[in-house]
């Protein structure tokens, strides 16, 4: 996660794009059947791809919007309990990372 000069989070674009695209059921089906082929279409940084393959919720949570993160793990078939156990190990966002009114 990169914080910008104005204190907002810079997302990992291609990881976000992958998660966004997998909201389509057909795309999620293809991903579950042949993950590596789908991943090859996205220019993910090596460490990001490793986090995806390793289903590393803590690492991925730092890189994408929380809603997309949750969509992704639903799309790949992880149970709610599985996801909750891991997401609760992530650190809370610092105040300057949050949207301010």
């Amino acid at each position: 996660m990169t914080e910008t000069a104005c204190d907002y989070i810079m997302r990992d674009y291609w990881l976000s794009k992958l998660f966004f695209d997998l909201q389509a059921p057909a795309a999620a089906d293809e991903y579950r059947a042949d993950r590596d082929t789908v991943l090859d279409r996205y220019p993910l940084k090596p460490e990001v791809r490793l986090a995806v393959v390793g289903e590393d919720v803590v690492a991925l949570a730092r890189l994408v919007n929380p809603y997309l993160l949750r969509f992704y793990f639903v799309a790949i078939g992880k149970s709610e309990a599985w996801f909750l156990e891991r997401i609760r190990n992530t650190r809370p966002a610092a105040p300057n990372e949050l949207a301010r009114g």
Binding site: C6, Y8, I9, R11, Y13, S16, K17, F20, Q23, P25, A61, N65, P66, Y67, L68, L69, R70, F71, L84, I87, R88, N89, T90, R91, P92, A93, P95, E97, L98, A99, R100, G101
Partner: protein, 277 residues
């Protein structure tokens, strides 16, 4: 001119659709009664147009193009893309382009810069409250998407200003039209964050009290101080702020509060008493 005939708010917890049975029968019945009361009031208001203010949950917009505010000006809107909502009777939803474009024109004239869409897809944030209320037929919808999902979000003060603007647009509309507003989302909830599933009931109750009794500055001060800690989903209270200012901050009435941990959301429902018929 048109008239504002009703202002309402409703939570839109997705698990109401995906896992309705997770909540016991007594509490399901309680929230169903709240939806029925909300529906009764909306139907009683006899709106010709229903403005629905909701976020976009990564359906229409992505990081490529992420408007703070988008008005749906289409003749029709597409129903929800979520696979678990395909049984809802909303494959296509009628719009009201004349009023929507009037709203957009008014906004531009007043120094607001909304994005416009001629063909929005309305996700669960829009359709879950409509479905649970069971309003049939639906009046034509003018959707307003407020970015409450991906920072930076529109400021709380700007959302209040948007509510004022919506009211002004209604008052300046040349035709005879009855317009109601439904804000969706909130109250406290956290999705995909470290505290996912936490409901901040203290915040929710305090928030309702602020809507009921605080002036605009007091409400802004409260939300500025407390909103972030109530979970990322609480950012959707921006939509309630728009409703509140459109109602000129008067007559807030809590119709129901259902903090159901099984659905992760402090579900709140409200109406603003405008004193109109």
């Amino acid at each position: 001119m048109a008239s504002l005939v009703g202002v309402f708010a409703s939570s839109h917890a997705p698990l109401m659709a995906r896992d309705w049975e997770a909540v016991d029968a007594a509490r399901r019945d309680a929230i169903s009664k709240t939806f029925s009361e909300l529906a009764r009031r909306i139907v009683e208001a006899k709106p010709d147009v229903l403005i629905v203010v909701s976020p976009d949950h990564w359906v229409n917009f992505f990081l490529d193009n992420l408007p703070s505010i988008c008005i749906g000006v289409g003749e029709t809107h597409k129903g929800p893309p979520e696979p678990w909502l395909q049984h809802l009777p909303y494959a296509s939803i009628s719009g009201h382009p004349d009023f929507a474009l009037h709203l957009a024109r008014t906004a531009l004239d007043e120094g607001f810069d909304p994005s416009l869409s001629h063909h929005l897809e309305l996700d669960h944030g829009f359709v879950i409250p409509l479905w649970k209320m069971g309003i049939d037929p639906l009046p034509p919808l003018v959707p307003i998407i407020v970015n409450a999902i991906e920072p930076p979000l529109p400021s709380l003060r700007r959302c209040l200003a948007w509510g004022d603007l919506i009211r002004a647009a209604i008052e300046r509309y040349p035709g005879n039209l009855r317009v109601a507003i439904l804000a969706t989302g909130g109250v406290s909830h956290s999705i995909g964050e470290h505290d996912m599933g936490r409901i901040d009931e203290a915040f929710d109750h305090d928030c309702f009290e602020q809507f009921r009794s605080a002036d605009r500055e007091g409400l802004l001060e409260f939300l500025d101080r407390r909103l972030d800690a109530a979970g990322n989903g609480a950012a959707e209270m921006r939509n309630w702020l728009m409703a509140h200012s459109a109602a000129q901050g008067k007559g807030f009435e809590l119709l129901g509060y259902h903090p159901y941990p099984e659905w992760y959301v402090g579900c709140g429902f409200a109406a603003w008493n405008l004193g109109v018929r």
